[in-house]
Amino acid sequence: MTMHEDALRRASSQGGWDRRTLLKTFGAGALAIAGVPSLAACTGGSGPSGGASSGSKTVSFGSGSSDEVPKNAYKAVTDAFTKKSGVTVNTNVVPHNDFQNKINTYLQGSPDDTFTWFAGYRMQYYAGKGLLAPIDDVWEKIGGNYSEAMKKASTGADGKMYFVPNYNYPWGFFYRKSLWTEKGYEVPATFDALTALAKKMQADGLIPIEFADKDGWPAMGTFDYLNMRLNGYQFHMDLTAHKESWDQKKVSDVFDTWKALLPFQNPNALGMTWQDSAKNLENKKSGMYLLGSFLTQQYTDKTVADDIDFFPFPELAMEGRDAVEAPIDGLLLSKKGGENQSARDFLAYLGTPEGQDVYASVDGSNIAAAKGADTSKFSPLSKKMADVIANAKSISQFFDRDALPAMANNVMIPALQSFIKDGSVDVKNLEAQAKSLYAAQ
C-alpha cells in the first residue's frame, strides 16, 4: 500500500474524521488571523529550524510520504546524501493527509528547506505566490537526466525551474494477458478500435471497460485522456488552468465522445471503489481498466500480478499518443530553503540517477523519473510503462493536480458523477463555477 498516496488517501474515505477537526477549521480563521503576523516575521529572516544561511551543514526536509515504504525510501536517500556530502538532513515526516491539507499554512509559517510535493498547477500556484525558491542552478546540473516532458512539468508559470521529479506512475488501460489471448483480443491503437473491441467484449458477456467512481476522482482520468486526445495537451492544460472557457464546443465534444464510451463502462461505477473494480478485473469479469499503475498493488497473488499488462490510451483526433497522464512526485525548495546551498545540493542529488536508484532500491513500486536510473530490476510491465513515459512528449498530472483543487473536488466530482448517471453535463454551469472559483485565488 505504498504506491499512490493521493489515491490511497482518497480511497480511505472512511479514515479518521471527527467533529474536532470540524471545530478546528471553524477556529482556523481566528488562528490564521492571530498567527500570520508572527509567522510572517519568521519567514523574513533565517528561520529557527534548520540552517538558513548559505553553506550550512544541515538541511531540513518536510516529507508527506508517511507510509512505511516511501518513508524508508526517503530515509535511505537522506542517509546516502549525508554519507556523501557530510550534510545532516533533518526529516520531519507528517501524515500525508495532513501535509496536503495544511500546505497553505505550512508554506507561510516556517516551512522546511525542502519538502515533498507534486508537479502541476498547484506547484506553479505556490511558485507564483512567491512561496518557493527557483532552482534553475540545480537544473543546470541535473537537466541532462530528465526528458523534455519532465522538464516541462517542473517549470513554473514564469519559466523558471522549481521542481525535482523523483518518481511517477502512468495512467493507462490494464488488462489480463491470459484473458485476452484466450479470447483473441488485440490491443487497440485507435479510439474506433477501442469501441469495436469493447463491443466484442460485451458480446462475450464481459464488462468491457471496468469503471468505479464512488470516490469521485477516478473518472477524472477518463476525462483527462479524452480531452488530451481530442483537443491536444496544450488545450487540456489551458482548460485546467482556466485560460480556456469550459463553455465551448471543444469541451462538450469531450463529453459527447465519452457518451459513446459510457455504455461499455461498468454501469455500477457510482457505487464502487477502484479496489472493487480491481477485483472484477482480477476475476476476469471485465476486459480492461483505465487507471493509474497503482492498480497493480492490489494484486498480491503473483500469478495474477504477472498476468497484468498495460497499453496507453488509444489515439483519437490529434497528437497520437504523445501525451501521457503520469502524476509526478518530487521535491520543492521553499523560499527560506532557497538560501541554503546544502538544500540545493540535496535536490541536485535526488535528481541524479544515483539518488534515484537509492530511492528505488527501497520503494520499487514506482518508476524513477530520471533517465539514467537503473531499470534492471524492473518487471517487464514496469519497463513498458517506463518506456511509455520516457517517450512521451508531454506529461499531464491528473486533473486534481493540474487544476485548482477546488475545481476538481467541488465542481468536477459532482459534475462527472451526474454525467455518469444520466449522460448530461451543463458546460455553462461548469464555466460559471470555474469563473467564480478561479477568481477567488
Binding site: S13, Q14, G15, G16, W17, D18, T21, L22, L23, T25, F26, G27, A28, G29, A30, A32, I33, V36, Q100, N101, N104, Q108, K129, L131, K214, D215, G216, N268, A269, L270, G271, M272, D400, P405, A406, A408, N409, N410, I413, P414, A415, Q417, S418, K421, D426, N429, A432, Q433, S436, L437, A439, A440, Q441
Partner: protein
C-alpha cells in the same frame, strides 16, 4: 459578561449595605475567585465560539485563497449569489436536510419513544436491550461505515443476499444509486437516533411520579390514555430536549453520508458541503463560510423558537 461579573458585587454591596454582613463577607479573594469562574468560561466561549463564528460570517463576504491576509478581497454578496445560482449541489442539499428532518421527526424519534416505553415495562433483560439499542450512539464513524457496508454492499451485502439479488444485475446498488442511497443513509441515521432518543425518554419515564400513573388508573384511564394524557405531558422538559435534538441532528447530519461517499451523488447535505468547502484540498473559504452562515441561520430559527417557548411556559407555570 465579564464586565457584569465585576460590577454586580459592587452594586449589590451598595444597595444591601445596611442589611448587615452577608454581602460584606465577599472578600477580595472571593471576588477574584468569582470573576475567575465567570471570566474564564466567558473567555473560552468567546475564543472558541463567538470569535470564530463572527470571523466566519465576516469571511463569507470576502474572497480569500487562505494564503496572505492581503489576499482577502471584499466580495459583497457574491458568495451567496454563487451558492444560490451556480452551485448545483446546494438546493439538493437543502432538500435532503428537510427530508432528514421530516424522517427523523416522523419515524426515528417516535421509534425511540416506542422503544423507551417497551423497555420501561420491566421486561426481562431490559438492561441488555437498552445497551443494544444505545450501542450505535457510541460507535465511531469508521465502525459505522464498516457495519453499513456489510448490509448495503451491492455484491456481498446482507440486504441484497436476503432479497436474493446479490451478484445479479438486478441487485440494488444501495450506496451508488442516487435515488436509493438517501433512504439507505436515513435508515442508518434512524438506527443511531432512535437509540439516543430512547435513552433520554427512559430517563424521563423513570422521573415521572408513579402516583400520577396510579391516580390515572384509579380514574379509570386505560394504558394508552394514561400515557398520552398524563405521562407524556408530564415529561415536557424531556420533550423539549428531544425536539431540539431532533432538529439539531437533522441539520448537522454529516457523519453517515460522509462515510458513504463524502456527501456526493444524491447524498448532498449542507453540512457536508461546508466541510468540502472549508477543509482540505477543495478549500474555498468564502463559499464555505457563506454555507456555514446559512446553516447557522437555519439552525437558529427553530432552536430559538422552541427554547423561548419552553422557557416562556416555564415562567408562566
Amino acid at each position: 459578561m465579564s464586565t457584569l461579573s465585576k460590577t454586580s458585587p459592587r452594586g449589590a454591596r451598595r444597595t444591601a449595605a445596611p442589611r448587615a454582613g452577608r454581602v460584606r463577607r465577599l472578600s477580595r479573594r472571593d471576588k477574584w475567585v468569582l470573576s475567575l469562574m465567570v471570566g474564564l468560561p466567558t473567555l473560552i466561549q468567546l475564543v472558541l465560539v463567538w470569535i470564530p463564528t463572527l470571523l466566519s460570517a465576516a469571511l463569507s463576504f470576502t474572497r480569500w485563497n487562505g494564503l496572505s491576509l492581503d489576499d482577502i478581497k471584499p466580495a459583497g454578496l457574491s458568495n451567496y449569489q454563487f451558492i444560490a445560482e451556480n452551485y448545483p449541489p446546494f438546493w439538493p442539499a437543502v432538500q435532503h436536510n428537510v427530508l432528514w428532518l421530516v424522517f427523523l421527526a416522523v419515524i426515528a424519534t417516535p421509534l425511540g419513544l416506542l422503544l423507551a416505553i417497551l423497555l420501561d415495562q420491566n421486561i426481562r433483560g431490559t438492561k441488555i436491550y437498552q445497551s443494544i439499542f444505545f450501542t450505535p450512539v457510541m460507535l465511531s464513524l469508521a465502525l459505522i461505515g464498516v457495519i453499513w457496508q456489510l448490509f448495503y454492499n451491492r455484491d456481498s451485502g446482507l440486504l441484497n443476499f436476503l432479497l436474493g439479488t446479490a451478484g445479479t444485475p438486478h441487485a440494488v446498488d444501495w450506496f451508488g444509486d442516487s435515488g436509493v442511497n438517501i433512504w439507505a443513509a436515513l435508515i442508518a441515521a434512524t438506527w443511531r437516533h432512535a437509540g439516543y432518543v430512547m435513552i433520554l425518554y427512559l430517563a424521563g419515564l423513570k422521573g415521572v411520579d408513579p402516583t400520577l400513573r396510579e391516580a390515572a388508573q384509579i380514574d379509570g384511564a386505560n394504558a394508552v390514555q394514561t400515557f398520552f394524557r398524563v405521562i407524556f405531558p408530564a415529561m415536557r422538559p424531556v420533550n423539549v430536549i428531544i425536539i431540539v435534538i431532533t432538529v439539531i441532528e437533522s441539520l448537522r447530519a454529516f457523519d453517515i453520508v460522509y462515510v458513504i461517499n463524502r456527501g456526493t451523488n444524491g447524498l448532498e447535505l449542507i453540512s457536508a458541503l461546508v466541510i468540502q468547502n472549508l477543509v482540505g484540498e477543495g478549500q474555498v473559504i468564502g463559499v464555505g463560510s457563506a454555507l456555514a452562515v446559512i446553516l447557522l441561520v437555519i439552525s437558529l430559527v427553530p432552536i430559538t423558537f422552541y427554547l423561548s417557548r419552553a422557557f416562556g411556559k416555564d415562567k408562566e407555570a
